[in-house]
């Protein structure tokens, strides 16, 4: 083979890079280190993934047979609303954010993100917002309007309770987190690339993340406004969605889906990016058609803004609008297909290594394709009218979300676990996890295609016997239980490998990109010296001239001070600002209105929160990020 792994100069990996310098809870609360924040994101998001998964399991248990009454209708509605909301906003997006955080600076050769404190702030807002929106389910007060909260059902007239308030405010809070993070990563990717890391040399994960940041920046303001309207309607009696005042229920739908469709690419593109890292590594050859994969990613993101109304074919937009949105939607198959084919071509002629990560990557290709094809079937409006709001749609989006995003993220976890924790995950358990997941996933979601086309509407808490759906639902439910087992295997593997996994070394997979040039886990400062990049695959493309110009950065486990590297101060301020923000918002629902059963704003809570937020914000902005530079 023409490429060779770089022989590490470090012998003891236990200490190499294991320098933490910082220990204890307080160091986690105050950290501004992108790697630690990435881990916080990872743990929190995995936790919420379990919560969302558990909700799904209860859903499936209820639907396992006709006319079951494991949960009430009211609670079921909360379950699927929270399942969708949790999975989308609290599990997959933050799982992606975990990778953005951990990987992007490492992949582009940076010391940290552009705004480390803002990064910490994003995480804390996410955590508090996540708790805010999740807690009510334990009191059966959770949001119950579905994950896209269609008006007028979610207006006060039809949802007088406190439930929807949690949703509206929770999503507003989470939006702050996503937007702050997006500006941060956008800047990071544009500006902190190491010398020589041109755009077209960026690792594909960074590229896809780059596209995702644009989607976030452009999509989130729209849902923010839609939510603000709903908030105003619910709390201040405005008329945006009030039917009697002439309000149009479709306004919400358009605004939501202008956000919502880009959102689904926000969910899947990071996974695509991860897969585009994994396949070359485990095939030991460069990504096939790098440039085209980049352009197709950009195109998917761009087209993603012009297709939103394909979620609304049943609302009667008229044939012209139906046609336009149908055609733009179909177009997306082309760039997506290009990706799929380039991945397959990457595998072709490779020296394949079937690690768990590789299996998940291959799994993504095979499963996402199914979801993509059913997506194309939805995109044809007349056909869509037989499919929309049935389990056929549920099948589609689980194939793309589970078969796409989750498979990619699992692959990414197996692949990057050694970089994060310095240890390998157990391959045997990993394979069990993969096969269980792969089989159970199909068992769960494939029968939904049939259930849907045989007439089963979605979001029904129970269904009648003799409808021809029993068998498919029973299989789905069995599959979901099996998925639960698979996830337990994963969690077990994850936790035990953190403690007992084999020591990984800096580049256990002979991967080509920059992050593998430094110890695992990386030292606080990432790169002792800013690396210089000469190609897309620096770890593979060692040249003769590189001997005196090393791009590999292996350093002993020294502290930054010993290395003469200036690190940002730890600070609690971002956390305080986040807390203030969340308190301010929760003031809106701090008290229960006995008249309606809904909630009432409590002004002093809001002001207290705002005061804390603004005070801490000023103090943050006026304090320096890091010690003054003395020498270079």
């Amino acid at each position: 083979m023409t490429t060779a792994a770089i022989t590490p100069h470090v012998t003891d990996y236990k200490t190499a890079g294991a320098y933490t310098g910082q220990k204890g809870i307080w160091s986690w609360l105050t950290t501004v280190d992108h790697k630690r924040i990435g881990k916080l994101y990872l743990f929190t998001a995995l936790f919420f993934f379990m919560v969302g998964g558990l909700e799904a399991v209860v859903i499936r248990a209820q639907l396992g047979g006709p006319n079951r009454s494991l949960v009430s209708a009211e609670f079921y509605n909360q379950l699927f609303t929270m399942h969708g909301t949790t999975m989308v906003f609290l599990a997959i997006m933050p799982l992606s954010a975990a990778f953005f955080n951990f990987l992007i600076p490492l992949q582009i050769g940076a010391r940290d993100v552009a705004f480390p404190r803002l990064n910490a702030f994003s995480y804390w807002v996410y955590l508090f917002g996540g708790i805010f929106i999740t807690v009510p389910i334990f009191f059966a007060l959770a949001p119950n309007g579905g994950w896209f909260g269609y008006t007028p059902l979610t207006t006060k007239a039809y949802s007088p309770g406190i439930n929807i308030d949690f949703w509206v405010i929770g999503l507003l809070i989470l939006g702050v987190s996503s937007l702050a993070a997006a500006f941060n990563f956008l800047t990071t990717i544009i500006n902190l690339r190491a010398p020589g890391m041109t755009l077209m040399r960026m690792p594909m994960f960074t590229w896809m993340s780059f596209v995702v940041q644009f989607l976030l920046v452009l999509a989130f303001p729209v849902i923010t406004i839609a939510l603000v309207f709903l908030l105003f309607d619910r709390f201040f009696g405005t008329n945006f969605y009030t039917v009697t005042a002439g309000g149009d229920p479709l306004l919400w739908q358009h605004l939501f889906w202008i956000f919502g469709h880009p959102e689904v690419y926000i969910l899947v593109l990071p996974a695509f990016g991860l897969v585009s890292e994994l396949l070359p590594t485990y095939s030991q050859k460069p990504l096939f058609g790098y440039a085209v994969v980049v352009y197709s990613g950009i195109l998917i993101g761009f087209l993603g803004f012009g297709v939103w109304a394909h979620h609304m074919f049943a609302v009667g937009m008229g044939p012209v609008a139906d046609t336009v949105f149908s055609l733009t939607t179909m177009l997306i198959a082309i760039p997506t297909g290009v990706k799929i084919f380039n991945w397959i071509a990457t595998v072709a002629q490779g020296k394949l290594k079937f690690t768990t990560a590789m299996l998940f990557a291959l799994g993504l290709i095979s499963l996402f394709t199914i979801g993509g094809i059913s997506g194309i079937m939805h995109s044809s409006p007349p056909a869509n009218l037989q499919q929309t709001d049935t389990y056929f749609i549920v099948a589609h989006f689980h194939y793309v979300l589970f078969g796409g995003s989750i498979m990619g993220i699992f692959g990414g976890i197996y692949h990057y676990f050694p970089k994060m924790f310095g240890r390998l995950m157990h391959e045997g358990l990993g394979k069990i996890h993969f096969w269980l997941t792969f089989i159970a996933m199909n068992l769960t979601f494939f029968p939904m295609h049939y259930a849907g086309l045989l007439g089963m509407p979605r979001r029904i808490y129970t269904y009648d016997a003799n409808q021809g759906w029993d068998l498919f639902n029973a299989i789905s439910t069995g599959g979901a239980y099996l998925l639960g087992v698979a996830i337990i295997v994963f969690i077990w593997n994850f936790l035990s490998s953190m403690k007992r996994g084999a020591i990984a070394g800096p580049n256990p997979w002979n991967a080509p990109t920059l992050e593998w040039s430094i110890p695992s886990p990386p030292p606080e400062y990432n790169f002792a010296q800013t690396p210089e990049v000469h190609s897309r695959y620096p770890m593979w493309d060692q040249r003769a001239s590189d001997v005196d110009h090393p791009k590999v950065n292996l350093t002993e486990g020294k502290s930054p001070e010993q290395m003469g590297i200036i690190m940002p101060y730890n600070t609690i301020k971002p956390l305080v600002v986040a807390l203030g923000l969340v308190v301010m918002f929760s003031g809106l629902i701090a008290s229960r209105d006995p008249a309606t059963g809904g909630s009432k704003p409590v002004l002093w809570v809001m002001f207290a929160g705002a005061a804390v937020m603004i005070g801490a914000l000023y103090s943050w902005l006026l304090s320096p990020l890091e010690p003054e530079h003395h020498a270079h």
Binding site: V222, T238, G247
Partner: protein
């Protein structure tokens, strides 16, 4: 400053990205206003008079173009003050020979003028809002009220944040003097301020002038 790949300041990239994001925010607000234009069930309306069939009360067209033109003009001029403030900070090190130079080069003066213009604009808006309420248009009254107050209110909130930012800069300027090192912060503030102005240009035409 650390090394950056483009040679640009991180913060400037971030503020531009933020402004891009704000485009979508105001897009949503303006779209909603336009979508609901003419769809209110009851008056008052922006331009036409309306008689309440129940009470016989007559509501006149609400929008007051002369007053708003004045406030628009003030906001427009604030943009001029803002560029002058920025230029003043950027040219701190250039020696001033004449009084004219010194005035033109006074960052405190121009920051103050910008903040003052912004506050004046807010004053106009407060006046506008209260007089509308007196004329029977509240945020709950009809679709026009809801969309109008929310859109212009969001814009006003942006102006308020901008004024706070300007006042903070002004305070720093008085305390220790803004230096070349602060140029980026003033630049960011200026970009934000101009963007808020630009949004008003759109609002003034789309909401006030077009009938």
């Amino acid at each position: 400053m650390h090394y950056t790949a483009t040679g640009l300041d991180n913060r400037k990239i971030a503020i531009w990205a933020f402004i891009g994001s704000e485009c979508m925010l105001f897009m949503s607000l303006i779209s909603t206003y336009l979508i609901y234009k003419g769809k209110s069930v009851v008056g008052p309306f922006p331009h036409e008079a309306w008689t309440d069939p129940m009470t016989g009360r007559v509501f006149h067209g609400i929008l007051d173009i002369p007053v708003t033109s004045a406030s628009t003009f003030v906001l427009l001029m604030s943009s001029l003050f803002m560029v002058l403030a920025l230029a003043a900070v950027q040219n701190k090190h250039v020696p001033k020979h004449t009084t004219g130079d010194r005035i033109l080069g006074s960052s405190r003066l121009w920051l103050f003028m910008t903040a003052l213009a912004g506050t004046t604009f807010l004053g106009f808006q407060a006046f506008e809002f209260t007089s509308f309420v007196h004329e029977g248009l509240t945020i709950r009254r009809n679709l026009f009220g809801s969309t109008f107050f929310t859109l212009t209110g969001f814009h006003g909130a942006h102006v308020t944040a901008g004024v706070l930012w300007l006042l903070t800069l002004l305070a720093i300027d008085f305390k220790r003097g803004l230096t070349a090192a602060d140029e980026m912060v003033v630049d960011m503030c200026a970009l934000y301020w101009h963007f808020v102005d630009v949004v008003w240009i759109a609002i003034f035409t789309l909401i006030y002038l077009i009938r």
